[in-house]
Amino acid sequence: MKHKNRLVNLAFILLAFMLMSSCSMVNYEKNPVMVLEAYFDALNAKDFEKALDIDLEVTNRSLSLESLKGLDASYSDLRILPYTSPNYEIPKDDRGDIPGICERYVVTGQVDYPSGFGVGPSGEFSFLYTMINQEGKWLIFESGTFTKDSCQRATQMLEKRNSE
């Protein structure tokens, strides 16, 4: 009987260990909102290298680093909402997001530039981001005005980049 109890205990321990292992093996990826939060966290922490790693738009890394350091912006009161949420009026001929592949987000909040002016004046901001899923990892594809074919352009440009 004692021997049987020991076996049962061992089985439980093994089961618990297997469950813990399988949990830690789940390939947990951040969703687009979490990626944008991490991006602004990195900017606020002045970890510009980390911020640029999230941003596919960067073509000249040293110049981008210099610009980010120069602007030295601080962001607060962030709200990150999908462009497809009822908050936004989307033109009828907009071809829309491609859920899980390309999604657009609106980030609003307060920005403070030490000089009072960066891309625009300090105060309320509203930035637009097109996010793309690159092999299971969401990244900023581009920032700026949405076009009617933002996601079609994004997927085509990414395919072109990957094939080069």
Binding site: L71, P91, Y113, V119, P121, S126, E142, T145, T147
Partner: protein, 121 residues
């Protein structure tokens, strides 16, 4: 006033570096005011692009500007692009944020356009 004294976000038309430049380099409303309202800059007076608002697309030539009031965005002029060519029916434009070139002007999600014909510098 010298460029070094200009600082960031001031009026006028100059760019020394990211921390010493006129607002019109990055902020569409400032560029619009600079051109349309013939803003009188304290830095480098007389310098910069000159033009006026027109009301028909047929008045636009390569080098002219189209400002947009973008849907859901807070400014009256949120975005600006430059006309680079005419296709059969419409101007094609180039711009940043997003990066586009020879792109149909009407592919942006806008509610209103402001057309600027550039006359000189």
């Amino acid at each position: 006033m010298t460029a070094e004294q200009g600082g960031i976000g001031t009026s006028g038309w100059y760019y020394v570096n990211v921390n010493n430049r006129a607002a019109a380099w990055t902020w569409a409303p400032s560029l619009y005011n600079f051109i349309v309202n013939q803003e009188n800059p304290t830095c480098f007076p007389g310098k910069g692009p000159k033009g006026y608002r027109v009301y028909g697309f047929s008045s636009l030539s390569p080098g002219d500007l189209i400002f947009y009031n973008i849907v859901n965005q807070p400014q009256i002029q949120d975005h600006v692009v430059m006309v680079v060519q005419w296709s059969a029916y419409q101007p094609l434009v180039a711009g940043h944020s997003p990066n586009v070139d020879y792109y149909p002007y009407n592919a942006f999600n806008y509610s209103q356009t402001f057309l600027i014909h550039i006359t000189g510098y």
